[in-house]
Structure formats: C-alpha cells, structure tokens
C-alpha cells in the first residue's frame, strides 16, 4: 500500500505523460472519447499520484482507498492512470477498445485490474460510492472514497437520490469531483439541459462545496487537504475544466466529446509535448517503467 505524495513538479510532468498516452491510444484505436479524458487529466493525476492510498500489486487490498469514475466514457484517462500507476503494462493501452485487449470501451471491472465496478451508464457511480462509504463507516474503516462525475451527468436523476442519501448518512469520508467542462455531446450543458446553480444544489442537499481550477495542480492539492477537514457531511469539488485541455484544436469544443484524433491530429498535438506519435507508441510498446515525462 502506498500514497505517493508526489511533488507538484512531478505531478505536472506525469499529467503531460498521461495526455501523451491518451492521444496515442485514441489515435491507435480510432475510437473513444477525447474531450472529457483530457479535462479530467490534471485532477486525476493528482488523485492517483499524490492522494490515493493504493496497492497495484493487490488491487483488492482491503485497506485501499476507493476511487471510482462514474463518468465511464473517459476510459482513455482512467486506463492511462491505472497503467502509469502500475496496475497493468503500458503496452496494454495500445489495445484500447480492441477484441484482443482487456480495455473495454467503457470500464469493465471484470476485465481490468484497478477498476472497482463497471460503469458506462451515467448517474450510477455516486450511489456506488455512497455504498462503499457507508460500509466503511460501519466498519470504522479509515479509507476515503472518491467519485468522479461529469457535469452532463448531473442531469441524471439518480445522482440526486445519491446526493440526498450521502448527506443523510453523514458520509464525511466521501468526496465527489465534478469535471465541470460545461460541454456535452449536443453542445453546452447550459443549452442542452441547464445544471446550474450546481453549487447551490449540492449545498442545499447538505454537501460542503469546494470550487477549484481543475487544471491547477497546487490548488487541487490544497482542496484535497480541505475536504479531509470536513466533518459530518460529504464534500464535492466543482473542478472547473476545459474540454480537450492541452490540445489547442480540441479545447472547449464539444465536438471532441466522443471522437478520437486521427494519427495526423495526434501528431500535431504531441508536437507540443516534444514527442511524436511513433515515439510515444514505442514508449508504451516497450512497456518501460512508468516514468516522468520524456
């Protein structure tokens, strides 16, 4: 078991690695969700490489923290985080969404080490983490439970059933993070089905609400420290992000919700990170030890 507690420099570099992984695996598979994967990358890296107590050698270690991406379609970032953290070889990322690989289009706990539960139908994950948090309370288990949701996902009614129950059970061991990139498949969340005022909604449901720039790693770490000080109620972090963050031609464009870059587009994006599609593919193929950016 280990909490990595990486420094900010290392986290920022690792987030860059993960963006390169995401672009490479998406271009290779020719299928998958770019936009949300890139908006979740920075706080996802902060969770897996600074915050969570995990044991990749024994994913079911009973002392572990439990983190679940209810936003199941961001498998590129989920799988990259798990591979970089050592749950399975990096080269597996190149078999994303293939028949031969173990990385399903949406998370399948039965297939992939490190996943707690299958997901992909939005709105179910917060309830799952309420269950984990409740059972952990019953057992006086000290773990923290994390649930990552999308902002479009807030339109699912079950989210609010779960929100109600989390405060009813006073689950101060539960923190939700919402990837607030303000985009969904059909356009802006404000136009498709307005979710605002989201902070007021959670607050009125009995949650402690935090807001943070979801790409500012120092600020994210500070918020993680704050949520742990909250007693008797669950906490939610509204992570203000940009869809497609880190790729200029994808940023803030809802059309990148569900499409992958072509190899040429990935090439253009990877240039910014000082690498190429082939070079990064080689790195994954070699299955080299997880490293901080090349």
């Amino acid at each position: 078991m280990a909490v990595l507690k990486w420094s900010i420099d290392k986290l920022e570099a690792k987030a860059q690695d993960i963006r390169c992984d995401i672009l490479t695996l998406l271009a290779t598979s020719g299928s998958g969700h770019s936009g949300g994967s890139l908006s979740c990358t920075d706080f996802g890296t902060a969770l897996y490489f600074h915050e969570l107590n995990l044991n990749p050698e024994n994913p079911s270690d009973p002392t572990r923290d439990i983190c679940h991406f209810s936003i199941g379609h961001v498998t590129p970032v989920i799988y990259s985080l798990l591979a970089e953290r050592g749950y399975f070889p990096l080269k597996d990322l190149l078999q994303f969404r293939t028949f031969a690989g173990h990385l399903q289009g949406h998370p399948s706990a039965h297939d992939t080490p490190g996943l707690e539960v299958s997901a992909g139908s939005l709105g179910q994950g917060l309830s799952f983490t309420v269950g984990v948090a409740l059972a952990s309370k019953m057992d006086n288990h000290s773990r923290r439970v994390w649930c990552i949701m999308g902002d479009g996902e807030q339109q699912e009614g079950q989210v609010w059933e779960a929100a109600m129950s989390a405060s009813h059970f006073r689950l101060d061991n539960l923190t939700a993070i919402i990837d607030l990139n303000r985009k969904q498949i059909d356009g802006d969340t404000a136009d498709v089905m307005n979710i605002e005022p989201l902070a007021d909604k959670y607050s009125s449901f009995g949650w402690e609400v935090f807001e943070v720039n979801g790409h500012d790693i120092p600020a994210i770490l500070e918020t993680f420290a704050q949520v742990k000080r909250i007693a008797w109620k669950p906490s939610v972090i509204l992570a203000h992000t940009r869809m497609g963050k880190g790729v200029s031609f994808m940023e803030n464009d809802h059309r990148w919700h569900g499409r992958p870059p072509t190899v040429e587009e990935a090439e253009e994006a990877l240039q910014k990170y000082g690498t190429t599609y082939e070079e990064w593919k080689q790195r994954l193929q070699r299955g080299s030890e997880p490293i901080v950016a090349l």
Partner: protein, 322 residues
C-alpha cells in the same frame, strides 16, 4: 376443485426470518429496504441488528448501487422492495453495475405476481423473471412456499454473485417441509406420473398438485416438477419430462412471454420436442381485486392446468394418428 389439506403461510415472512439467521451467522450481512420494512418482514432483522438494517427510502436506483458499493467494501447486502420497483424500475442498474461487474448483491423481489390483489396492475409484477433471466451472472430463484423461500434466501448467501429471489404478497400453501432439501439448479419432483408433466413455480406448484390429484381420478398421471431455480434452469429435468411423459404444461404467475414457459420451451426444443401448453398471464396487465378472484379470472388455477393437460393428451393422440 377441492384443496389438499395444506397449511398456509407467508413466504415474505420466511424471507425475513432467514435474514435473521444469516445476520447471526455473519456480521457482514446487511439489509437494505425501500420504505417497506414491515411489509417485507425485515423489521425482524432490524430488531436483532438495528445498525445493519439500512433504510434507503423511496429511491430504488440509489438502493441498488449502494448495495453494490457495500458489496465491494466486503458486505453481503440483501436488498428488498416490491419487484415492480426493485427489478422493473432499476433494470439498467442491475444490468450495468450488479450483473456486469458482477457484484455480490442479493435481491428480494416481494409482491410478485397477480395475487398481490387490490393494489392493481402497477404493483402486480409479472415481468420480473423475463428481465432477470435475461441478465448473465444472475441466479434466479422462484421458491414454492414458506420453507423454500427460507432455504432460497439462505442458499443465496453461499452463491458468490448476484441472486434474485421472487416471492408474492399472500399466504400460500406449504408444499414442502422445513426438512426438505433445497438443491439450487435441481428441479424438485413433487409428484410423479407418465402421461404429462406440469412444471410450476411459486404457489402454482400447489395448484399443480391439486391438478395431479384430480387427474388421477380420471386415470391420468401428471408429473409435477417444482422449478424453484429458474436460472440456471434444470435442462436435464426438462429433457427427461419430455422423453418420459411426452407432454409439458408450465404454470406461473408471470407473463406468458419471457417467463418459465418460454424458458422451458426454449430448452425442450433442443431435446425431444413434445406438445406444450402454458398456464400464465396471457399478455395483459393485472387489475384490482381479491387475490382469489384474480387467480380465477386470470386462469391460474388447478382447473386451468387440468384443461391444458386434457388438451395436451388430445394433441399427443393426434400426433400418433398422423
């Protein structure tokens, strides 16, 4: 048609008492309920283990996934509500989270069937088997009576994976005894005969036994199989019934499409096909009424089984003539 001298009792009470037994055996057994604690007899569990009875209110989608989360944290959750809501409303949660993962969640489907009575169609769940049997990884029990509901609830604990247990609202005849073995996946021969077989579930097993007695007076031998495990279904018992009796009627408080009858026909067709008939709800919604009135009106009685057996014997005869 006269009854055997049956004792009558409540399967849902057996469910509640079995949970207490499990609660004593394992402190990780927890029970989740959706605002129907007394009706589904989990107050018995609450009295013994107040901290392990989790009231989830009227929010079934949440309840299913909370149960899944508790299972991931080492608990053995049993959740219960009326199957209209605990199955019908939450099929996606059962499919994606509980079944696909799979999670070690046990489900009590109360108030299943037309015999729910005065509450009417919304609460008379007759599609639950169709839904649950379609999901990989699930075991599906439809016990016949009080004793068997207890045993099915206990057996679910020993199965590593999701289990659905169906029972109704009303008292039903006891057709088994407390000491009878309960072997998941193995149909129970309740009465033997060589002219036809009635494969039944739930309280229809009692109706099948009454039909057996009536037909015997006419010299007709009806085998009665209690298919308490609907999934995985006992294919061998179905093949054997087809080969040895040459005719099958199924009997269930469920829609005719997608229930026991559909499953039996599907299996039988891969062995020796024989004439089949169905005693079931014939593709219609329920309605308010007394349970007895409804069972009569919807054709879910021993006399309906007898009618179908007569028809089967005619069909067998005509096949021989050809």
């Amino acid at each position: 048609m006269h009854n055997r001298d049956f004792q009558w009792s409540l399967p849902r009470e057996a469910w509640g008492r079995a949970l207490v037994e499990l609660g004593e055996k394992d402190e990780n057994v927890v029970v989740l309920v959706g605002d129907n604690t007394i009706s589904l007899h989990v107050h018995l569990f609450e009295e013994q283990f107040p901290d392990r009875l989790i009231e989830m209110g009227i929010a079934e989608q949440n309840m299913v996934n909370v149960a899944a989360g508790m299972s991931r944290a080492g608990k053995i959750p049993y959740y219960v509500t009326y199957s209209a809501f605990g199955v019908g409303r939450v099929f996606d949660q059962l499919r994606v989270t509980v079944g696909y993962t799979p999670c070690n969640v046990k489900i009590g489907g109360g108030h299943s069937g037309i015999s729910v009575g005065p509450d009417g169609a919304t609460h008379q769940m007759m599609e639950d088997l169709a839904l649950m049997c379609s999901l990989p990884n699930f075991t599906v029990f439809a016990p016949a009576d009080y004793h068997q509901t207890r045993l099915a609830t206990l057996a679910a604990y020993d199965i590593d994976g999701p289990v659905y247990i169906r029972f109704g609202r009303e008292k039903v005849p006891e057709v088994t005894s407390a000491d009878d073995p309960f072997e998941p996946g193995k149909a129970q021969v309740m009465a033997d005969g060589t002219d036809a077989t009635c494969i039944a579930i739930g309280h229809m097993v009692a109706e099948a036994l009454i039909a057996h007695d009536e037909l015997k007076k006419e010299g007709i031998g009806l085998r009665v199989l209690n298919m308490h495990t609907v999934k995985p279904i006992d294919a061998e018992a179905i093949y054997k019934a087809a080969e040895e009796t040459g005719a099958i009627v199924t009997a269930e408080e469920h829609q005719v499409y997608g229930g026991l009858g559909s499953l039996v026909a599907q299996v039988m067709a891969t062995g020796t096909p024989v004439p089949m008939e169905y005693v079931a709800v014939m593709d219609r919604y329920g309605q308010s009424g007394k349970p007895e009135e409804l069972l009569d009106a919807f054709g879910l009685r021993a006399k309906n089984i007898c009618e179908k057996v007569h028809r089967l014997l005619q069909r067998k005869q005509s096949i021989r003539v050809i």
